[in-house]
């Protein structure tokens, strides 16, 4: 049972970092970013590479992962999404992000092949070694402590950046009304680029912790993607704090429902159904997510 609780918390921590980043991109550029899961894998492979070369614990590779994920994400924005910002429709942007998903995923596959020969370690279906941390006699898995700390620190810093700095003000202003912000001299392009950097960095940070709990391969990013979408949709698109609530709802629900069903003899392989059906149910019943539902606005059609 304790194992289940730990699993649920770690998983929710990762979903929190992922869904806030995904939502940030939805808010700024209106992109349903299907390449988001691949930034997780960028984090995984950065951590694997750096920790193997330096011989340190993967936890110490967090800064490298942050930078790698952020830089790649920012570069993709500058090269692909910025030219399309004002002229592509929503579905086109989605198709573009799917193309990027394919490019990134198979680049990672190639990297995994090359790294296996170069680093002489398993680059597919591997696990990171964890250790236990003792708090007044209670032994806690390191990944729970570190992933919780990281997600709290990163999300609090994101909050401070958005709400306590002038740059954050400019960012929120650009989200609400890019034309007016531009007329007031805000460099909207750079502000949106920053949001891509942050989103990629958050996802890569989540990636550092993933292999402590689950065996990964370059395709694993996809399996993290739909639960992330579920978290964003449950929390309500457009509300960053909602995504946080959504992440813990989906994370805990997925782990516990699977646990309950497994004890009833149902295969645990049905686990993804929890978040998939959450996406469909929430979008059809209350398109603005839980917050919209609580405000009594959820029943109106989303479409204008």
């Amino acid at each position: 049972m304790i194992e289940v609780v730990v699993g649920a918390l770690v998983y929710s921590n990762l979903l929190a970092m992922l869904s806030v980043g995904l939502n940030l991109i939805l808010l700024t550029c209106k992109v349903s970013n299907f390449a988001h899961g691949d930034f997780v894998m960028v984090g995984v492979y950065t951590a694997l590479t750096v920790s193997t070369i330096l011989g340190v614990t993967p936890y110490a590779c967090l800064p490298f992962a942050l930078i790698a994920g952020g830089v790649i994400s920012f570069a993709l924005y500058r090269v692909v999404f910025e030219p399309l910002r004002t002229r592509a429709n929503l579905v086109m942007l989605m198709v573009v992000s799917m193309a990027l998903d394919i490019i990134l995923r198979y680049s990672l596959h190639i990297y995994a092949d090359l790294a296996q020969a170069w680093l002489k370690v398993h680059t597919r279906l591997f696990l990171f070694d964890d250790f236990l941390i003792e708090f007044s006699g209670v032994k806690i898995p390191g990944v729970l402590v570190f992933s919780s700390l990281t997600s709290v620190i990163l999300l609090v810093s994101l909050y401070l950046l958005l709400f306590k700095t002038r740059l954050g003000t400019a960012m929120r202003a650009s989200i609400e009304n890019p034309e007016l912000a531009e007329a007031l001299g805000v460099n909207v392009k750079m502000v949106f680029g920053l949001s891509w950097f942050l989103s990629g960095a958050l996802a890569a940070a989540a990636g550092v912790f993933l292999p402590f709990r689950a065996m990964v391969s370059p395709d694993t990013g996809w399996s993290m993607l739909l639960p992330t979408f579920a978290s964003v949709i449950v929390g309500g698109v457009g509300s960053l704090s909602g995504s946080l609530i959504g992440a813990y709802t989906i994370g805990v629900a997925e782990v516990f429902l699977t646990y309950v069903l497994a004890s009833l003899g149902v295969s645990t392989a049905y686990r993804p159904l929890v978040s998939f059906s959450a996406i469909i149910t929430v979008l059809l019943v209350s398109p603005k997510g839980l917050s919209g539902f609580l405000n009594g606005k959820g029943w109106k059609p989303w479409k204008s």
Binding site: M98, A99, R105, H109, W302
Partner: protein, 348 residues
């Protein structure tokens, strides 16, 4: 001989992709409904074959199926194919019955899937449909009695009464004539008043309603037709491959079809032909490289990357695709100039 089988299988695959692209063209290219659950309707066809062909054939020949389906389906598929080799009628019955079951089933699901479009913005609609197709995949890969789960299911060879290469040739003729028929249906639909209504809804849903069109009904029709088409492709695919594995039906396959339509040119009935050809050409070139040029990694990965870059370049540089849409599509030019309407006008 090897060249012949290569060409025959290439033609068969092309036909299957043309059917998929034509159905996507109708739904996404003409109507603007991003049916990103395409693979689910494709899978309905294939799964029907996977679940039915062995069982149906066994019932018809009086063979009792013993043991777990997931472990024994391939064995029985081989056994029953041997029966078919001496009984062509049995093979054709299996083919027709699976087709007759799959198409209406898929059409029904299609109508169901057209309803979220009433209330969702396009990108959320696409996400919903993706989730829907993944649900179907997760259930079938884990519910073993139906399709053998991750083991997959064996499929009888309904053309076992023919010898190679006549078997492959017949398959090609069958697939290509079905593809031609389906493409022609798509062509006729998109150049008729129906196609006009589809493009009008895509351009401006509110204005279409204001000018009297029943948008919900038209969308349901289109999804039904498109899904029926996709399930035909699924049936053919299952018989062509000779087995059905749920993990073969991932979102990536939907994406390939979207790619074909985008590359070919959305809103142009010929786009699906060009798009499917472009994809297959690229795929085969990569296969050739894989067999002839040594690389330190699996070249399949590389072919996917090229595909991804290709679609990026097309969307950024030439968003309208290789053959852009050109009005008027639904009014025949020669008919107009025949009537005196134009002559009268040019005299002025």
């Amino acid at each position: 001989m090897e060249v012949l089988t290569f060409v025959l299988s290439l033609g068969t695959l092309y036909s299957i992709y043309v059917i998929l692209a034509a159905s996507m063209e109708l739904e996404y290219g003409e109507l603007g409904l991003p049916n990103f659950a395409k693979v689910a309707f494709f899978a309905v066809g294939a799964f029907t074959v996977g679940a039915l062909s062995v069982r149906l054939c066994a019932t018809l020949t009086g063979v009792a199926l013993e043991g777990e389906f997931k472990l024994r389906s391939y064995y029985y598929a081989t056994l029953l194919s041997a029966r078919i080799s001496s009984n062509p009628l049995l093979g054709l019955t299996v083919f027709l019955v699976t087709l007759i079951v799959a198409v209406p089933l898929s059409m029904l699901l299609g109508i169901l899937a057209s309803y979220p479009a009433l209330r969702l913005r396009e990108d959320y609609l696409a996400t919903t449909l993706i989730a829907f197709s993944e649900i179907l995949r997760v259930i079938t890969r884990n519910y073993e009695p139906l399709l053998g789960g991750t083991f997959g299911a064996g499929v009888v060879d309904f053309l076992a009464w023919l010898r190679s290469p006549w078997r492959e040739l017949t398959m090609l003729v069958l697939c290509s004539s079905l593809a031609a028929g389906i493409w022609f249906i798509q062509y006729k639909l998109s150049t008729s008043p129906f196609g006009r209504a589809l493009r009008a809804i895509r351009d401006d849903e509110l204005a279409s309603v204001a000018y009297g069109k029943d948008v919900a009904k038209i969308r349901a029709w289109t999804m039904a037709i498109g899904s029926g088409m996709a399930s035909v492709a699924g049936v053919l695919y299952a018989f062509y491959i000779g087995s059905v594995n749920p993990d073969d039906f991932t979102v990536a396959r939907t994406f390939l079809v979207v790619l074909m339509v985008t590359v070919g040119g959305r809103g142009n009935p010929y786009g699906s032909l060009v798009g499917a050809a472009t994809y297959l050409l690229l795929d085969r070139v990569m296969l050739f490289i894989k067999h002839n040029i040594p690389l330190p990694f699996d070249v399949n990965y590389f072919s996917y990357i090229i595909l991804g870059i290709l679609i990026l370049v097309i969307i950024v540089r030439k968003p309208e695709g290789l053959i852009p849409e050109r009005p008027p599509l639904t009014v025949k030019l020669n008919k107009i100039s025949e009537s005196n309407i134009i002559q009268h006008n040019t005299e002025k």
